[in-house]
């Protein structure tokens, strides 16, 4: 029994081993790289390897994916890997995914699977463009140099394209910044001319052949390495603020000995060759309010050039950054909202802005992008074309109550290739825009209410003192007199309507209308007379005899005026109804007019006197 199970296990193992190579993520032995052209760009601190791979499917089943491998020395410094197919407008970016545990491939090699746009059938060929970017692959050697020395670096990479497939023909071109090369791997055929070293063509390179490539050469381009924190603050009032905090260091050969400013200034090309002298930031077009400062304050050495496609900012650090030196600074700018914020059909807002560092030739070791959205934004989602770590935070700034939602995106080792657009979409209700002005309104309203409350508080201690009581009494009387004055003024306006009606009568001759108007006016005057009486009573109650007398005089005068106006109306109507001779009527009316005029003036003066 035991023997039988043992046999079965062995048999199963054999079957498993036989079936394994047939699974999808395996090395297809039918793929052959017919021609590989590699270009290694070593001109700056980042190494860019672009390979053009032409491969052929010599089998019969179509191939959907292609495997790429990286030697350990390359994989350790990998910052970016990408593959494209096609040229010019038809160029498409392919998905590249790390895979592991493929039989027949040593685990020391890193493998990437490229998904092809369309399957390559049996006997067909296809061409891939693969770009990989490596940082820190060029090590300063010697590690310390004096101010007058040039910087020498040692690059360690792979001589061949490490491929799980056999390669029929392969050649590599290495581009160097200068023609000074101390040493390089001599794998024949190899040719060096000027700033270029050509390796190959090598024919029939075996799959997974790893050979080391070492070049020791001069590279004075600055090794600017930074930690960067970008804050992108969106305001729906029409602005996107960007604040970038840099912690930068020169990762090149360390500066040895003292620094001579004189020598540095006098021999610019010969002294401090690996120093970071200036930085170039490429900002989006229409960037404005650009500032550049560090802890001490504004750094004035900067220039801005704007075109319709880009805003270029040239910055000089406060001091030249010699090898191993550090600096911290902040670069900030504003961008117009309409260039970056969009509204989808379902109402979601979409922010579309670049992810990476705008400075050229800077390797960012730790990149943090904080997207600060307006208060009231909900349901935040980010879509970044490469993997990033995400977190959430809340920020309280100007006129905030509950705080603004912050989306924190983190990426380590970001290079130029990561300077791609990414999208943050969120929900926002337009009404939430009013929260800030309403907060300000509430603040001012609170001030007014506070001053109203203050004036209402009576802080007098001796409320029974004579002077306080006198003051209270004076205010009371003054208030009654003011109300009386207002009432009498209103009565005067009402009474004037009689005269207006008489004028109308002389024009139209409508006696009935004039009578009706007079009746209405007299009615309302009778009503307001009650109010006048009430005010006078109130004044009597207050016990100010002088004020009461003054008021009584005015009221009497006003009564005379109203009576005269009534007489005038009566006379005019009588004349129209022929009850009175026109001549007598004219005379009487003229006298009344004069009397009314004089009385009006007296009443007016008396009302004014009441209020004083």
């Amino acid at each position: 029994m035991g023997r039988r199970t043992g046999l079965l296990a062995v048999w199963l193992l054999v079957v498993a081993c036989y079936l394994a190579p047939l699974s999808a993520a395996n090395v297809d032995p039918n793929i052959v790289n017919t021609r590989v052209d590699r270009k290694l760009d070593l001109a700056t601190q980042t190494v860019r390897i672009s390979s053009t791979i032409k491969f052929e499917n010599r089998g019969s089943t179509p191939v959907r994916s292609y495997l790429l491998a990286l030697a350990p020395s390359e994989a350790a410094h990998l910052a970016f890997i990408g593959a494209t197919q096609g040229k010019g407008r038809s160029q498409t970016t392919l998905a590249v995914e790390a895979v592991a545990g493929i039989p027949g491939v040593p685990s020391s090699l890193s493998l990437y699977e490229v998904a092809l746009t369309r399957p390559v059938g049996g006997g067909e060929s296809a061409t891939l463009e693969v770009v990989s970017v490596h940082t820190g692959a060029e090590v300063p050697y010697p590690a310390e140099i004096t101010q007058s020395e040039e910087q020498l670096v040692l690059y360690t990479g792979s001589l061949h394209l490490v491929s799980p497939y056999a390669t029929a023909s392969e050649s590599s071109k290495v581009g160097l910044p200068t023609s000074l090369v101390k040493a390089y791997t001599k794998a024949e055929p190899v040719k060096k001319s000027g700033t270029e070293i050509t390796y190959g063509p090598y024919s029939d390179v075996a799959p997974l052949s790893v050979e080391e490539l070492r070049i020791h050469f001069e590279n004075n381009s600055p090794f600017a390495v930074a930690d960067l924190e970008r804050e992108i603050e969106v305001s729906h009032w029409g602005n996107v603020y960007v604040t970038e905090n840099y912690k930068m260091r020169n990762a090149g050969a360390k500066h040895k000995g003292t620094f001579s400013r004189f020598e540095y200034q006098a021999r610019p090309g010969m002294s401090g060759q690996n120093a970071i002298r200036e930085l170039l930031a490429r900002l989006p077009p229409r960037a404005n309010s650009i500032y550049y400062r560090d802890e001490i304050g504004n750094i004035s050495t900067s220039h801005v050039r704007s075109t319709s496609r880009v805003t270029e900012v040239q910055l000089e650090p406060r001091y030249p950054l010699m090898g191993g030196w550090k600096t911290e600074f902040t670069l900030g700018y504003s961008l117009p909202l309409a260039d970056f914020l969009f509204r989808a059909k379902d109402g979601r807002r979409v922010l579309n802005i670049t992810f990476g560092c705008p400075l050229r030739d800077v390797v960012v070791e730790d990149l943090t992008v904080k997207v600060i959205l307006p208060e009231g934004s909900t349901d935040l989602t980010a879509s970044v074309p490469f993997p990033v770590a995400q977190a959430r935070d809340v920020r309280l700034t100007y006129l905030d109550t509950v705080g603004r939602p912050v989306l924190v995106l983190k990426k380590s080792t970001a290079v130029m290739e990561h300077n791609q657009h990414f999208q943050v979409s969120y929900r926002f209700r337009g009404v939430a825009l009013l929260a800030e002005p309403l907060l300000l309104v509430a603040f001012f309203l609170a001030l007014f209410l506070a001053s109203m409350a203050c004036l209402r508080v009576d802080l007098t201690i001796a409320k029974s003192s004579a002077s306080y009581q006198a003051d209270l009494h004076r205010h009371k009387v003054r208030d009654i007199l003011a109300r009386l004055a207002a009432l009498l003024t209103a009565r005067a306006t009402e009474a004037d309507k009689i005269e207006a009606a008489l004028k109308e009568l002389s024009r139209s001759g409508d006696v009935g209308a004039a009578r009706a108007a007079r009746k209405a006016v007299e009615g309302s005057l009778k009503d307001s007379a009650k109010s006048v009486k009430a005010l006078q009573d109130e004044l009597d109650g207050a016990g100010d005899a002088k004020a009461a007398a003054k008021a009584a005089a005015v009221v009497a005068k006003e009564q005379q005026k109203v009576t005269a106006q009534a007489q005038l109306a009566e006379t005019a109507v009588a004349v129209w109804e022929k009850k009175l001779a026109a001549k007598d009527g004219e005379q009487r009316m003229a006298a009344l007019h004069a009397r009314i005029k004089a009385l009006k003036q007296e009443v007016r003066d008396a009302i004014q006197a009441l209020e004083d």
């Binding site: 825009l433 309104v441 001053s451 205010h475």
Partner: protein, 79 residues
């Protein structure tokens, strides 16, 4: 959905108008404030009218609130 099919989002008020709005609203707001305080100090406890006080103060605070918002935006403090 592609970005090219989406609508661009603009500010509800054209930023060009911020200086004008700030000046006009704050001027009017200060006039109402002046009127409010003149009334406060000239009226006595007997003659005070709370409706009039609240109306003047309310109008003044709305004008000053929006005026100072546009002042902030004009000076570059995008809230």
């Amino acid at each position: 959905m592609a970005l090219s099919e989406m609508q661009r989002v603009h500010s509800p008020v054209d930023p060009v108008l911020y200086p004008l709005l700030a000046v006009v609203l704050i001027t009017l707001g200060l006039l109402f404030t002046a009127s409010f305080f003149i009334y406060e100090v000239t009226s006595s406890k007997f003659s005070r009218n709370i409706v009039r006080e609240l109306a003047t103060g309310g109008v003044a605070s709305v004008l000053l609130g929006f005026g100072s918002l546009f002042l902030l935006l004009w000076t570059g403090v995008y809230v």
